[in-house]
């Protein structure tokens, strides 16, 4: 299927355009932007990112493992140290906390990779270096017969130019 790529200067029009195309379900949408733009991104999907789930799991695992490790190891070979109890929860809190942060952080990044589909080994056809400049790209993959309509829509909403890739 052909992909039309419209090049825009401002996020605003992209948003409206994206909504139109979605509304008329003309095809698959993808937005390329040099920096994050909430509005058009919202057009793609409105749900909050699932990354937060990873963070939660990581944090919980971290704190449990952290405490467990210390308590288990201290009792595995119990040695009296400074006349203190083997299971001294208060000092163990520190490493418990550090483990929370560590695993939480690492799983968050894992989340980024999973949710953001990274790493990927081939760039989209629709992608162009200009989108890491200052322009925003809206790529629409649609059926042949809709190409003209999509193009028209793009033109109407101040697309600087429109290109057809992968005809």
């Amino acid at each position: 299927m052909p992909t039309l790529v419209g090049v825009f200067d401002a996020p605003g029009p992209v948003r409206t355009l994206a909504d139109k195309i979605k509304g008329r379900s003309l095809g698959e949408l993808e937005i390329y932007s040099p920096s994050p733009f909430p509005e058009p991104d919202a057009a793609i999907d409105k749900k909050p990112s699932r990354v937060r789930l990873f963070t939660l799991i990581g944090g919980l695992t971290g704190v449990t493992f952290g405490y467990w490790m210390q308590i288990w190891m201290a009792n595995d070979w119990p040695l009296v140290i400074g006349g203190k109890p083997f299971t001294s929860v208060v000092p163990y809190t520190i490493i418990g906390f550090e483990m929370t942060i560590l695993l939480g952080g690492l799983l968050t990044v894992l989340g980024l990779f999973v949710v953001g589909r990274l790493p990927r080994f081939r760039l989209d056809k629709g992608y162009s270096p200009r989108f890491s400049g200052e322009e925003i790209g809206l790529a629409v993959t649609c059926r042949d017969r809709d190409v003209a309509e999509v193009e028209a829509l793009m033109r109407d909403s101040e697309a600087k130019e429109v290109t057809l890739v992968d005809a």
Binding site: S35, D76, I94, E134
Partner: protein, 455 residues
Amino acid sequence: MTPPPAEAVAARLASAPVASDSKINRDILSVLDGASLKYWGLLGLVVLGVAQAVATLAYQTYIGMGVAGYSHPIFWGVYIVCFVFWVGIAHAGTLISAILYLFRAKWRNAINRGAEAMTVFAVVTAALFPLIHIGRIWKFYFMIPYPNQRGLWVNFKSPLLWDLFAINTYMTISIVFFYVGLIPDIAIARDRSSGWRKVLYTILSLGWQGTSRQWKAHNRTVLHLSGLATPLVLSVHSVVSWDFAVSIVPGWHATIFAPYFVAGAIFSGFAMVLTLLIPVRRIFGLEEYITDYHFENMSRFILLTSTIVGYAYGAEYFIAWYSGVEAERTSFFMRALGPYWISTWIMITCNAVFPQLLWFKKLRTNLPFLFVLAFLINLGMWFERYVIIITGLSREHDPAVWGTYTPSLAEMSILVGSFCWFSMFFLIFLKIFPVVAIYEVKELAIHENAHGGAH
């Protein structure tokens, strides 16, 4: 026969030439290209500095810690001082990128990349010192709780072990944070480079192309990492401070240590950011991005933290007096008037007195002044740790074995080496990665344009 529309359209649509690239990209990426002779000279110099320190370390490991200046009962010296110093430096970066991010302090965008880099390199430097310091460096792994045939674990009650975990967590998280922030910028560099850089950036950018899904995940990740890093950055120097506060050494055993150390860390961190960014901005002409406004804000932070640190100094003396414990009082009097009075007064003037000049707006934006001040603060903060560690140990509970300590040549060599080690990383960083977070600057810029357009 009429051609199908697609072809018709395709025929009409000539792919247009790429519009001129954005100015931001050009300005910031220009830092990366072409290293001058001066640059190579400087790099060579610091590499030499690292080499001599490595030689010293080898010698010390072979001969024994006796080559350092230790003398009973002062068993912690310059190495631990440097450790605390560098950990402290490492705090500004995360503070700027995490805490200010949560506070939506947009001005951070221009400086956070440099600050984060500094953080990473400072932690990497700090992490070396506990190893350099221990008597049997070849047995350092005894500190790590790994299953071993001796069936022996480690002592989780020891502040040094807390350190081990805190520092390594902090190092991991700051590196991750640093890298996550870099991905979009690496992608930018990828699209505009060739040769080995192209290869390097292609690999490191992980195929980033700024799709809305990626941006969404990215934002969320940065948000969460900031959320995690914020308590972390506050905890790390607290833990380091507990190395001292948990002991029973007069002058160390104080509840104020955690906040006192954290404030000091941020204080010294910002000073180090200034020390690095002022020359960088000047040499690479980034005035448009790193503006006086940024420096003024950082000056405000320095002023605030300096005041906190100054207060802590006062509080320490007050409590020593108020506690009525003779050992405590003695320890603190000896600090100010004993063998180490010079160090003590350097610390007080550099950290608590000079920065107060920042009450004047003129000075807050006067870069030469800030540069000098930043240097003094770094000096003062190094001496703060020196004073705390050495004077504490030199005047303890048993007056019969009060001692004095003088750093040895070996320690000086490794001290110098640590600064070279740090600078080496930073110099390399300057030429490999954008020193300013491009996409974040753009975010600001483009938004302004957009709103501008709306009006």
